[in-house]
Symmetry: C2
Subunit: 254 residues, 2 copies
């Protein structure tokens, strides 16, 4: 299947009838990336259809009632699952290989809280990326940096390479999409954004280790390309396909 | 322990050292009610401390870092769990009696999505309750009524008394707090709010059945009292204790 984003006027993809899961995704969506990371970390085979979120295909509502991505279609089971965290938990429960959540309910609950609390990083991050010259940014760098203290502290206390232990777990993968995007702030802020190497020593080591992970590598997009996507979107001219293997024009002709 | 809400200047409650869970709650908080419902449905013994959310006790941050309720303290385990859905899931995993979630990962995921989607009822509901004569209300009754169609359809398809089957499950309890409050809209809207008996026949039966449930009854507050609480809060003079057994003045003297 092509990785061009399907838009208004497109045909609903005809997936092979092989029982594999079908993920409706968008290449630059951090929430969709969560689903890819879990599927790839657990080596679950799946098909992907990428969706143009500006010009949504008419058929999208049939598979994702609220026309959201990520949406996970389970062949033979009607409507897709939505909400990245619910999809991730479903996959972890249904496919026992490489469990990502802790088996200890208390540790699992704490990790889920840390996923929720990562919003305190995500919110100022988006202020920086999408309100560049507006009033949203002041204070955002401090806010976002302070938010990371909690995660640095956690890693120090856990004394493990990843939040999940010797390999990435659910918390690692659920916060990763924004960590991958964080370096794109350098193109906006220059030297103003740099994590203190002492204050965030464990988190910086963690980031290096994450980038060596197979699932992370399979879904990796460079800071330059994240910045390019965000800039085009901010300008009102989003381009979903600049990384696509098949150029969009070719596809429209076929 | 008294059910008066502890405020600024109060002492941190000295719970007996009996290993029981400790829930920090607020009598009229629907999110806290979710935690009560799960604890009571599963017959888990616990202590409660009610918190005045307008004048928060100084010690609250020690047990709930973000000073939120509900917060569930697990004796001997440091910081409390927060987020009503995470608390509910934790309790269901840790205490296997009377399981509330479906054992089928797909059904569980679908139910969790239905809990999230109930926001489409909650949001217009709050517009009606807290923006009574302002611009928030127009369209809210229609929006909120339409949101319920999905739940009526679900109940019809499931052909069971409750979403969870022959007894209430997680979905039933997680959406109940707002269903309990829904009749308080009658004091604001009069006859303008009434669910069509044909269109919502299953949901209205469900509501009657829910009110007979032990956990629901143990935490029930009448529409009149919900309306009173909301009205006082809206007026900027919230009264957390008008249902408290010990009158607040007496407590402050002791």
């Amino acid at each position: 299947m092509s990785n061009v984003h399907l838009a208004k006027g497109s045909h609903q993809p005809a997936f092979p009838d092989d029982g594999k899961l079908r993920l409706y995704s968008m290449k630059f969506c951090p929430y969709a990336q969560r689903a890819h990371l879990v599927l790839d970390a657990k080596n679950i085979p799946y098909h992907v259809a990428y969706i143009n979120l500006t010009e949504k295909p008419e058929w999208l509502q049939k598979v994702s009632a609220l026309t959201k991505v990520p949406a996970l279609e389970i062949p033979g089971h009607g409507e897709s699952l939505i909400e990245s965290l619910i999809i991730a938990d479903y996959l972890d429960e249904k496919y026992p290989q490489h469990p990502l959540h802790s088996k200890d309910p208390l540790q699992k609950a704490r990790d889920r809280i840390l996923v929720e609390r990562f919003d305190s990083f995500i919110t100022p991050f988006y202020r920086i990326v999408f309100q560049r010259n507006q009033s949203g940014s002041p204070g955002a760098i401090t806010e976002l940096t302070n938010a990371l203290d909690l995660y640095e502290k956690e890693l120090r206390e856990r004394k493990t390479k990843f939040f999940g232990g010797q390999r990435p777990g659910m918390l690692d993968y659920m916060i990763w999409p924004w960590c991958e995007r964080s370096d794109s702030m350098k193109f906006i802020l220059g030297d103003k954004y740099e994590l203190d190497k002492v204050r965030f020593s464990e988190l910086l080591k963690w980031k290096d280790e994450m980038q060596k992970d197979k699932a992370v590598k399979e879904n990796y997009i460079s800071p330059e390309d994240h910045f390019k996507y965000a800039s085009l979107r901010l300008a009102g001219t989003p381009d979903y396909d600049f990384l696509a293997v098949v150029p969009p024009k070719k596809l429209r002709l076929s």
